[in-house]
């Protein structure tokens, strides 16, 4: 579904992405992991059509990305909620922009708020919510668009450990309930292994390794030895790069 070929992005003279190529199949998940400044967010923005690459191609469903794609939903790192809009208005915003009729929009928003268990907050403003609740609102806003591709930038980085796991469980559950392709950027190895069917390890604007995660999809994975084995594998391939330099 996603095809990235020889992608390069420069910020001034600095190379944020350098000759990045990979492919992701439809309705699978992929986690991009790497240290800060490795270019993972830049890569996500290119996939979202928010950033134009300097060189190379990004295509989704065979169509080259030239700006925002209607069926792609993006959840940004700081949730990207508008502080002047209530939860309801934030969630309905994407639908409103797409010109969906009011009645249908109301139904879609009510359904998604219920599914995410945030119905009772619909008249609240983002600043009245906790981090975990805000993240649910951001997810609701993305899912309301019924996307075939969901991009997430560090979905749980601002949350405490317990909320983080709840949120990861929720994302997995939603993925199973709504077939879509998910790409998420993270700096947490556990998150990458729990949510990534495929794990792309990045460093300094390049892809260091791509690992397949055969255990993906098990909700109980964190309680199994396999989980830690994969985590160790990811950690080792992240570290191996550092030693080579």
């Amino acid at each position: 579904m996603i095809d990235v070929k020889n992608l390069a992005v420069h910020y001034d003279s600095e190379r944020a992405l350098d000759d990045v190529s990979f492919a992701i199949e439809k309705n699978t998940t992929c986690a991009i992991i790497g240290p800060s400044g490795c270019g993972k967010t830049t890569l996500l923005y290119c996939l979202a059509g928010l950033l134009a690459p300097k060189a190379g191609n990004v295509s989704v469903n065979g169509q080259p990305i030239e700006g925002i794609r209607k069926e792609t939903a993006v959840i940004l790192q700081d949730y990207g909620l508008f502080p002047w809009k209530t939860v309801w208005k934030n969630v309905s915003l994407g639908l409103q922009v797409r010109g969906i009729d009011k009645k249908q929009m109301k139904q879609l928003v009510e359904d998604i708020l219920r599914e995410l268990g945030i119905e009772q907050y619909k008249h609240k403003y983002p600043m009245e919510l906790s981090g975990g609740q805000k993240q649910r609102v951001a997810i609701a806003r993305a899912l309301a668009l019924k996307p075939d591709l969901l991009l997430m930038d560090e979905p749980s980085s601002a949350l405490d450990a317990i909320t983080k796991e709840h949120l990861q469980n929720l994302i997995l559950k939603l993925y199973k309930a709504h077939p879509m392709t998910i790409m998420l950027v993270t700096h947490s190895i556990e998150e990458a292994v729990f949510l990534g069917q495929r794990i792309i390890i990045m460093d300094k604007g390049k892809i260091r390794a791509i690992l397949d995660n055969p255990y993906f999809g098990d909700e109980d994975l964190r309680n199994k030895q396999d989980f830690y084995d994969v985590c160790l594998k990811v950690r080792q391939s992240m570290n191996s790069g550092e030693q080579n330099e």
Partner: protein, 258 residues
């Protein structure tokens, strides 16, 4: 009912009582006819209000509201334009900065010669003074919008006009309200001055006219009328804030309770 609106009323009553108390103390302490008895002045105000004061107040109100409306529309439009467009900012902001500190009130005679002695010159002098404030705060407001929100808006598929409607205008609204609040004080002061010239209507004229007749009680009734005018405009801005910027009021509440 919006709780922020009902709270405004109680605050007002309290402020008013303190003000009257201070006035009474000043009246008793100064023992001068220049600070008349508040009770007499207030009674005189109500006596003069329907026939004498109301037309003056109305004349002043039209001038102030006219100036504010012109300033808001042109100031916000220009502020948004240079806030969004870097090239325009480089070309226009230096001009705004040079003009900002110039005491425009000194150009009142020029305004009267160019735009006539009537309402036009009075409205334009007030506009010329308050519009800069609005331009600068609006522009700064646009610049302070976090970049992430622009990404968020664009990722939802918003185009130019929708960006203004859902992101830029709501984000700068609290700034516009603040600059409006400051502008009202300034505009009343400027208007008072400009109404000393070439008019027989306007509360500024009324006050200065009473002064020349050494009628301090009437003069204070006029000052009350002018204050009331300013107060009503101020409350209108508060009301607008409670109505259009509820999220800011909630944020302030949250900050206080922490």
């Amino acid at each position: 009912m919006n709780k922020y609106i009902s709270k405004l009323k109680l605050d007002t009553l309290y402020g008013l009582l303190i003000l009257l108390l201070l006035w009474q103390l000043l009246h008793m302490g100064m023992k001068s006819s220049v600070i008349p008895n508040p009770y007499l002045s207030v009674m005189r105000f109500f006596e003069l209000l329907p026939v004498t004061l109301l037309p003056h107040m109305l004349a002043s109100l039209v001038r102030i509201v006219g100036a504010i409306v012109i300033s808001i529309i042109s100031g916000v439009a220009l502020g948004l334009f240079i806030g969004v467009n870097d090239k325009a900012d480089k070309l226009i902001s230096p001009i705004v900065y040079v003009l900002y500190p110039v005491p425009k009130i000194a150009f009142l005679p020029v305004f009267m010669i160019l735009f006539g002695l009537g309402d036009t010159s009075k409205i334009l002098i007030v506009t010329a003074i308050i519009v800069f404030q609005i331009v600068v705060t609006t522009r700064d407001g646009v610049r302070e919008i976090p970049k992430g929100l622009f990404y968020s808006a664009r990722s939802l598929g918003m185009n130019g006009l929708e960006l203004y409607r859902h992101l830029i205008i709501p984000a700068v609204m609290p700034k516009i309200i603040t600059s409006l609040r400051i502008s009202i004080g300034t505009s009343i002061a400027v208007l008072f001055f400009s109404e000393n010239y070439a008019t027989r209507y306007g509360i500024g004229y009324f006050i200065m006219n009473c002064w020349t007749f050494v009628n301090y009680v009437d003069m204070f009734a006029g000052i009350l009328a002018l204050s009331l005018l300013g107060y009503l405009l101020f409350k209108l801005v508060d009301y607008m804030e409670a109505k259009f910027c509820r999220w800011v009021m909630i944020a302030k509440d949250g900050a206080r309770s922490v």
